[in-house]
Amino acid sequence: MRRFLVLRVVGKLLIPFMLVFAFYVLFHGDFGPGGGFQAGVIAAAVVIFYGLIFGLPAVRRMVPDAIVETMVGLGVLLYAGVGVAGLVFGGNYLDYFVLGSDPVSGQHRGIFWIEMGVAITVSGVMLKIFYMFAGRGRSLEGE
C-alpha cells in the first residue's frame, strides 16, 4: 500500500487528531461517555491504522514489541498499585478516599490513575494481538 500517496498523506494528517481524540475520551470520561477502556481501544486503533498504511515493519519500529509487552503489564500494575496505595495510606484496598487531602479530591486522583492504567493495558493488549496475528500471516506466507 506504500504507493497510495493520498492515503499516506491523509493518514499522516489524521493520526495526530485521532490520538488527541483518544486522550479526549480518556480525560472526558468523567463528564461524558468514555473512559480508559474506550480511550485505549482508540489509541490502539490509531497505531493499527498506521500499520495498515505504512506496513507492519514501520509500525514495529515506531512502537517496538518490548514496549508493547511492558505496557500490557504496566497498566495492570498501575491499577493494582493504586489499590495498594490505598492500603499504605491506611484505608482498605482500592480506597481512594485516603489518597487526597479531602475525600472528593482523593476520589478524583484515584479514578484518574486507574483510568490511566486501564487505557495503557487495553491499548497494549490490542496492539500486541494485532502484531501477533499480522506477524503470523507473514511467517505462514514464507512457507
Partner: protein
C-alpha cells in the same frame, strides 16, 4: 437485527458472516443508545464492530473462509434451543414490565448512586463513578481479564512461530 442473525445462521461464506456480525454489533449499539446506555453503546461499537471484526478477519486470513456443509442432524441443538426458550419465557414472565419505575432495580441500591455519586466522588457521569469507584474492584478484574487474554495470545502464538522457524531450517 434478528434478520442479520438469521442471515448469519444460514450464511456459509465466513467472510459474509464476519461482516454480518459487524453489522449486527452496530445495530446493537444503536439499540443501546436508544436505551440510554451511551457508554455501553460506544464500547460495543468500538469493540464489537471494530476490534472483533478486525480479529475475525485476521483469523480468517490465516485460516481460509469457506464453511463445510452443516451438520446432518440438527435435532439435538434444536431441542436444546427449545428447552432454553421455554425456561427463559417462563422466567421472564414473572419479571417487572418494561420501564416500570417501581421495579426492584430502580428502588434498591441505585438511588444512592444517582443521588450521591456527584457529591461523593465528584464525577457527574454516574457510569464512570460506579465503574471506577463503587465497583472499582470489578473493573480491576476486567482489566485483569484483558491482561489474561493479551498474555494468553502471546503465549499461544509466540511458541508456534518459533516452531515454523524451526521447520523451515
Amino acid at each position: 437485527m434478528a434478520v442479520t442473525v438469521f442471515a448469519i445462521v444460514l450464511q456459509r461464506n465466513l467472510f459474509s458472516v464476519v461482516v454480518l456480525a459487524g453489522i449486527y454489533s452496530f445495530l446493537m449499539a444503536t439499540v443501546l443508545v436508544a436505551l440510554d446506555a451511551v457508554d455501553v453503546a460506544m464500547t460495543e461499537a468500538s469493540v464489537g464492530a471494530g476490534i472483533s471484526t478486525v480479529l475475525l478477519l485476521g483469523a480468517l486470513y490465516l485460516c481460509g473462509g469457506e464453511e463445510a456443509k452443516p451438520m446432518a442432524r440438527p435435532w439435538l441443538p434444536l431441542a436444546v434451543a427449545a428447552v432454553i426458550i421455554g425456561a427463559l419465557v417462563y422466567g421472564t414472565l414473572g419479571l417487572p414490565a418494561f420501564s416500570d419505575p417501581s421495579a426492584p432495580i430502580h428502588v434498591h441500591v441505585v438511588p444512592r448512586y444517582l443521588n450521591e455519586a456527584l457529591k461523593e466522588t465528584g464525577v457527574p457521569n454516574v457510569v464512570t463513578a460506579v465503574l471506577a469507584s463503587y465497583r472499582g474492584y470489578d473493573t480491576l478484574g476486567e482489566v485483569m481479564v484483558v491482561f489474561t487474554a493479551g498474555a494468553g495470545v502471546i503465549a499461544l502464538l509466540r511458541r508456534a512461530r518459533k516452531r515454523v522457524d524451526e521447520a523451515r531450517q
